[in-house]
Structure formats: C-alpha cells, structure tokens
C-alpha cells in the first residue's frame, strides 16, 4: 500500500515530511547546505520531532540541489572566531552526530549530491547509504584544508569504514564517485537520479519498519555494533585545529604565524 507523502514542517534549512511511518528530512535550497548554528538548530529540531513521534519507524535524510552538504560553514567560523565560534558550532555539529547515533530507529541517507567533510560525516553516521550516480562525490577534505581530525570525528569515520577505505578516505582525501564508493563498500547502492535514490531509500526504510523492532533494542544494538563512537564524541578529548595561511586555530585560540 503506497502511503501519501505528508508535509509536516518547513524550516529555513530543512523540511520534514512523512510517508507512512518513514520520516523524511530534506536539506533544502540550492546552496551547499553548510552547517552553522542556525542550520544545525533547524536540523536538530527536526530530528527531535522524529525522535518524539511515537509512530516514527525510520528516518531518511536527503537533499535538494547538487549538494548533500559541504560540511561546516568555514565563513561563519572565521567571522565569529572571537566569539567562541568553534565551541558553539562544535556543540551543535557533534550534538547532531551523537543524536543520530542514539536514535532508536533505522537511519538511511539518500545522498543526491556532494558530501564533503562534515557532510560526509553526517552521511556516515546513518545506518544505510544510497547515492545518486553522477557528478556528486564523497570527500573527506580535512587533509586538503589543513584541518586536524579530532578523535570525536575520527571515531565516526572509523566506525563505518574498512581499513583500506579508511586510508583512501582520510589519508588520501580521495574524492569518491558513487560507483567507487559502492566498490569500497562505503555505500549500499547507486541509482540513476535523485528521485530513484530517494524512492529506494524510502522503500528500504519501509521494509525495515515492517520488521517491527523495538527502539531501545535497535539503539542498543547500534551502540554495540559500533562501540565507543557516542562516548568518544561526548568525551571531546581533542580541540578542533586548523592550520591556515598565516595563522592556526586551536580550539578557541588563534595563533598568528
């Protein structure tokens, strides 16, 4: 039985819909869906709504336009360095990642465009990944941008990648097309266009919903299968560090060179 898509809420950064018991979170707009405090607040509000909805059986996260997400909003960070920008954005970004890891329902990412750095991490934190064939790439850009990888974020990456893929992703900052990502087992399927990618994700989600799993069981098993990720995120053992031209940023301190 095909359910109708029900529109639930629209925020500036995202939209929440529901098809049967599958909730669909779409990062909206034609831009590159960067993560800054306003957009992260919107996303987290949507996620909390899903978590609190008693009928929610699965979550599909997807995007409009050519970008899933290009990660943290570096412009916002540079502008707000003197105002604890990194603390604020880190709270919200890592809060989103650990919220996703704790969600008691299956999560599926329908990646219909580029997913880089923080955007790639958001995709990785989902249980299943489907991607559109085409120009979009998965790219962990930190190495290219002189950013250190804190243990909180490395734990997310390591949990979902095999040793060979890990080297290619993190130590080569390789740009993976959808087919390559499939070959390296980073994603579960490749589809011809965005509509097919999203539809497949929803159909898979419906199959998982039909299994009737209990939320606490599911969350507990995810934490068991991918241990220490939530703990490492919440432990915050390393500051965010950037080596940029002329200066370094370590946590909230800026060092001129």
């Amino acid at each position: 039985m095909e359910h109708q898509m029900v529109h639930l809420h629209q925020w500036p950064a995202c939209r929440l819909e529901r098809r049967g018991r599958v909730y669909i979170l779409t990062l909206t707009g034609a831009d590159d869906h960067r993560f800054n405090p306003p957009s992260l607040d919107d996303i987290l509000t949507a996620l909390k709504l899903v978590d609190q909805a008693p009928d929610a059986g699965a979550l599909v996260t997807t995007n409009e336009g050519r970008y899933f997400s290009n990660g943290l909003d570096l412009k916002w960070i540079k502008t707000n360095l003197s105002h604890s920008a990194l603390d604020i954005i880190r709270d919200k970004f890592e809060g989103m990642l650990s919220f996703m890891m704790k969600l008691g329902i299956p999560t599926l990412a329908a990646i219909c465009g580029h997913a880089a750095a923080g955007g790639f991490m958001l995709a990785l934190v989902h249980d299943y990944r489907f991607m559109t064939n085409g120009k979009g790439v998965l790219y962990m850009s930190e190495l290219d941008h002189g950013m250190y990888m804190p243990r909180s974020l490395m734990s997310v990456i390591k949990s979902k990648l095999s040793p060979v893929s890990l080297r290619e992703v993190v130590l080569k900052a390789r740009k993976f097309t959808a087919s390559e990502a499939l070959e390296f087992r980073i994603i579960d399927g490749v589809y011809d266009d965005a509509a097919k990618t999203i539809d497949t994700a929803i159909v898979e989600a419906e199959k998982l919903v039909a299994r009737g799993w209990k939320r606490d069981s599911y969350a507990n098993l995810r934490a068991g299968a991918f241990p220490e990720v939530i703990e490492e995120i919440e432990a915050r053992r390393d500051p965010y560090v950037w080596r940029l031209k002329g200066f370094s940023v370590i946590g909230n301190l800026v060092f001129k060179q």
Binding site: S162, R185, R211, R222, A225
Partner: protein
C-alpha cells in the same frame, strides 16, 4: 546429544539427531564434556571439526525450555547464556585449530557457536546465519556482541548481521567476509572442513602457542571472556 570421535588427527564433534540442536543446559553440558575430552588428549598436531546432523546446525538457546520455567524463565535464559559462555571460552582457548562445518541453519547462539571457530565452512544449498535477537526483541549478551565485533570487521557486514537481523546464506556470507567457504552439500562441507583440519593439524603447531596467538588476535572477545592474563608472554619464558 553430541558425539566425539577422532579421525586421523582430527576430532569430530557432532550435534546429533534431526532436531534444532537447541542449546539447553543438557546439550551445553554435553558439548563442554566433549571439549574437555579433546583437551585431555595429549597428542600434538590435532584439530577440531564441529558439525551437526539434520536441517539445523543450531537454532540457538532453548527458549521453550526457558518459557516452561514460568516465573523463572529469565533466570533460565541467563543460565543458558552463562553456560554457553563457557563453551565459547573453551573454543577460543582450545589448543588446536578449529573448523565449523555448518550443515544447516545457525541462529543466535547457534551462529555464535559457528563463529567461535577459527574457520567456518557452510553448505550453500540451504540454511542461513541469522542473529535473530532484534526480531525477537531480546538483548545480546555482552560476549555475543564482542564476538561479532572481533570476527566481523567490515562495518557494513556487521550492520547487516546485527542491525538488519539479516538471514545470510553461505555464498553471501563468504562475500561479506563472515565465513570462509561455501560448499554444495552437507557432505561436501564436512569433507572440505576435514581436509582443512587435517592440513592445519599437519602444521604440528604447539597447541598452547596457537591458543595464545588466537586470543591475542581476537583480543576483545578474549578479554570479555576473561581469557587474557597479563603475564601470558612472561610465563612462557
């Protein structure tokens, strides 16, 4: 319940009868007894093959027996889980190579039994590996999860086994890196397992060294089972 025989250099432990080989205290005790006899044999250069008769390798704990306990049903599940943990510990510390010839369905604790072996061969014509806990709404004992993390390294494979409660047939299991080989029939599976076991036994490895290396290789599950002593290396000098 189960038989133990030696063919050449290979011990063969067989779960007998056509039933589901449910791991109730009686069967678990029988297996533990057989493993004790394996250890007691001083002949170096041996190996173990574990297999089963009928349609099932093992369908896991005897939940009917647990339910029959009424108010004590939780306690009965706990009892089976504790006893079975001993089997897993025995297998993970057995001083010889071990091969599981999975000749039928292996679910939950039955799947754990297979994965507790160094090599897993399985028939491809019928039967599947299946961690059913999510479907039944039961939690995993800690040592189950530690075993899965130790033996199923690939994230997507682990996700499919644990978070999708997938029923995985032999050929898919080989592709996912969960088992070693898929064979056309139960007879061929056992034969291939025996050949492997003979080959491994022929390497004439020191059993204690083998066990020590196995524990170091799968350090997480070994730790959870209490098998790792800090002075392991020093005590051999």
């Amino acid at each position: 319940m189960c038989t133990l025989e030696k063919r050449g250099h290979v011990f063969v432990l067989t779960l007998t009868g056509d039933g589901e080989h449910r791991l109730n205290p009686t069967l678990i005790d029988a297996i533990q007894d057989a493993l004790r006899r394996v250890r007691a044999d001083p002949t170096p250069g041996s190996a173990l093959v574990t297999t089963a008769k009928g349609k099932f390798f093992s369908n896991g704990f005897d939940l009917n027996w647990a339910k029959a306990g009424g108010s004590a049903s939780q306690e009965r599940v706990h009892q089976m889980s504790s006893k079975f943990e001993q089997i897993v510990a025995d297998l993970m510390s057995l001083p010889m190579p071990t091969v599981a010839a999975v000749t039928g369905h292996a679910s939950a604790a039955g799947c754990m039994l297979a994965l507790s072996h160094d090599y897993v061969y399985m028939r491809k014509d019928r039967g599947f590996l299946y961690m059913s806990e999510l479907d039944i709404g039961l939690p995993f004992p800690d040592y189950f999860m530690a075993m899965l993390r130790s033996k199923i390294a690939a994230p997507r494979a682990r996700r499919d086994v644990v978070l999708r409660a997938a029923k995985i047939k032999a050929e898919e299991a080989v592709e996912m890196g969960i088992i070693d080989e898929a064979h056309s029939s139960p007879g061929e599976t056992v034969e291939a397992a025996m050949r492997r076991a003979e080959e491994l036994a022929g390497r004439k490895w020191d059993g204690e060294v083998y066990a020590s290396i196995r524990k170091a290789t799968f350090s997480e599950i070994s730790g959870v089972l209490g098998l790792v002593k800090k002075l392991d290396i020093a005590s051999r000098l």
